[in-house]
């Protein structure tokens, strides 16, 4: 059976894959349909798509790409918003809109890499903790609790401070703060799933641990963590920009949004040059908002208890 599938082309392989996972596929289709109907989710999705596009294609979209990368234009210092410079210029005369567009790339990296780092670690630990409850499990959960007892921003701050400045320091620091959340979520789900009859059946049938974990427990336990992860991309951008604002981000002239805000703030002139404050922070807000909106809507759709009230 497998051999036949391999010989067929990609479309057929996709069909076979879908057929094997038909219930999940239908669920996903349904979720997408409902998602489209939610105005908040649509709004969020649009912004996310715009964000990613700009992040990847900033040189194409930015009106002043060189300035976006860091080239100063001191003749144009601190101009208020106008037609040539919709967001005004910063204190080096650089077009703010271009700077922000180039900054999107950094923020996207921050968001994605943090989650890509924290998610596997957290999920792995969570699965282990939930499966091997005594011994390893207890140990993992105690450590997790200890990390969780610490507010993430603080923890990230301390770690980042220890590691020095830079985007990657922030990413690592946040990843270290974020992983316990996934562990806890996955752990709870694994506990729930492992008592389901079909898992007991698999164990009773003598399947090796690894197989049971991978094929039976993991797919079902991972959903809440996945949703959390999608929202955490936004959270990472938020906390990352806060950390940058505190001085831990990349050095200028890197167009990191938090650093830019910090510069503007420290120059003390945010009252007079109001466009700096407003327009640098706005994209942070919008992007985080967008990720959260989408994640929240997805979570609501997938949660059976939150579906529209039925009878019985």
């Amino acid at each position: 059976m497998t051999a036949e599938v391999v010989e067929l082309g990609i479309p057929a392989r996709w069909k076979a894959f879908v057929n094997r996972h038909r219930p999940a596929y239908n669920e996903a289709r349904r979720a997408w349909r409902l998602l489209r109907k939610d105005p908040l989710a649509v709004f969020g999705l649009v912004i996310v798509v715009a964000f990613v596009t700009v992040a990847l294609l900033a040189p194409v979209f930015a009106p002043y790409p060189a300035e976006g990368r860091g080239q100063s234009n001191l003749a144009n210092r601190l101009l208020p918003p106008s037609l040539e410079h919709p967001f005004g210029t910063d204190d080096f005369g650089r077009d703010l809109l271009s700077r922000i567009m180039f900054g999107a790339n950094i923020e996207l990296q921050v968001g994605l890499f943090t989650v890509f780092l924290a998610f596997p670690i957290g999920v792995l630990l969570g699965v282990l903790a939930g499966y091997f409850r005594r011994g390893i499990g207890e140990g993992i959960m105690r450590v997790t609790d200890m990390f969780l007892a610490f507010p993430p921003i603080l923890l990230a701050f301390v770690i980042a401070a220890a590691l020095g400045r830079g985007t990657y320091a922030i990413i690592v620091a946040m990843a270290v703060s974020f992983w316990p959340w996934y562990t806890r979520l996955v752990h709870a789900e694994v506990l729930r799933v492992r008592s389901l009859p079909y898992v007991e059946a698999a164990v009773a049938a003598g399947l090796p641990h690894r197989r049971v974990l991978l094929k039976h427990i993991l797919p079902n336990a991972i959903t809440p963590a996945t949703i959390q992860a999608s929202m955490d991309i936004g959270a990472a951008i938020l906390i990352g920009s806060a950390l940058s604002w505190l001085g831990l981000g990349p050095s200028p002239p890197a167009p990191d949004w938090g650093v830019m805000f910090n510069n503007a703030y420290l120059s003390g002139s945010l009252i007079t040059y109001w466009w700096l404050g407003v327009f640098i922070g706005m994209p942070i807000f919008l992007v985080v908002l967008a990720f959260n909106l989408v994640g929240d809507s997805v979570r609501e759709i997938l949660d059976p208890k939150l579906r529209r009230r039925r009878i019985l």
Binding site: R30, L34, R308, R309, I311, L312
Partner: protein, 316 residues
């Protein structure tokens, strides 16, 4: 009474011209498979359906009034819990876990009859005693999760009786309860019916219960009523093919070793119900007309209705 639900996938024709009547002092059983619309019918009477439900047509006559025309607040204030009460299937989840049982019963009386706290509690105590609970004071103060299933169900019954309703709707009152308790609950219901002079609409999928407790029975299939008769008549001489198939499908201790006679096919989807008679795809006696015309519920014998073209004399 015809009722539609607007669902995600489309309009589900959940009830199609359901019609029956309940006489004073009688126990009317409503039987059918899961999903045939029995509970929906009951909820429609009390207007307890979600906003996606739309009554397409029909009337509900109660003591000379047509309830369909009433507004929600009127139904809430004057009918629910006061003149028609409902007992639900799963008493464990149907009682509020954060309030003591006694208070929940008393609340009904305080709302509908304007009683004071103390008065209502006293009457609640009396009701608990009346439904056969051995230690009513303790039950009064207990939280639902501290009580056994049978006790919880009796608490629900007390709540139902609180304002002396004329009709009690019992939705599968015994399904969530042990077999031994089942008999007690049913016996209790019959006793109370006699004592309070009320009518009971008993919804169940269990024909055995129907045989023991009901005066008359209505059989539902896929959102339609297919047969109504006195209990003895129904069991002795069922008129509708579906009823006949149901009775045949009951396991028979005498026919040990022989295969069970299930009804072939599946219950139809309510989004796209079969044209004409909803049962015809699975019916042994189906004729071409059955797919074209929906049979009316007709009284083809005294006190015995059936919705089948066979009884209209149609031959093909």
């Amino acid at each position: 009474m015809s009722l539609n639900f607007e669902t995600e996938e489309g309009t589900a024709k959940v009830l199609d011209r359901v019609s029956f009547d309940i006489r004073p002092g009688e126990v009317f059983g409503l039987v059918g498979e899961t999903g045939c619309g029995k509970t929906v019918t009951a909820l429609t009477i009390l207007r307890l359906l979600p906003r996606s439900a739309r009554i397409r047509s029909g009337e509900i006559h109660f003591s000379g009034e047509n309830l369909v025309e009433w507004r929600d607040e009127e139904i809430a204030a004057r009918i629910r819990g006061k003149r028609i009460s409902m007992i639900f299937q799963d008493p464990a989840t149907s009682l509020n876990p954060l309030y003591p049982a006694g208070e929940q019963i008393a609340r009904v009386m305080m709302v509908h009859e304007g009683l004071e706290n103390k008065q209502a509690e006293a009457r609640a105590l009396g009701l608990l005693r009346r439904v056969g609970l051995p230690d009513p004071e303790r039950v009064l103060r207990s939280y639902p999760h501290e009580l056994s299933g049978g006790m919880q169900q009796r608490v629900m019954i007390s709540m139902a009786l609180a304002c002396r309703p004329e009709l009690i709707i019992a939705d599968e009152p015994t399904t969530a309860v042990d077999v031994t308790i089942q008999a007690q609950i049913l016996e209790l219901l019959l006793q109370l019916k006699r004592e309070f002079g009320l009518s009971v609409l008993l919804i169940t999928h269990n024909l055995g219960i129907v045989a023991e407790t009901c005066d008359r029975v209505g059989v539902m299939y896929a959102g339609t009523v297919v047969e109504i008769a006195r209990t003895e008549d129904l069991f002795r001489d069922p008129s509708h093919p579906y009823t006949q198939a149901l009775l045949r499908a009951l396991p028979n201790a005498d026919a040990r070793g022989q295969p069970l006679k299930a009804i072939p096919g599946l219950v139809p989807s309510l989004l796209e119900p079969p044209a004409g008679c909803r049962y015809h795809p699975r019916c042994d006696f189906a004729m071409p007309s059955c797919a074209r015309r929906r049979p009316e519920l007709l009284e083809h014998r005294t006190e015995h209705w059936a919705a089948c073209l066979l009884h209209e004399g149609v031959k093909e």
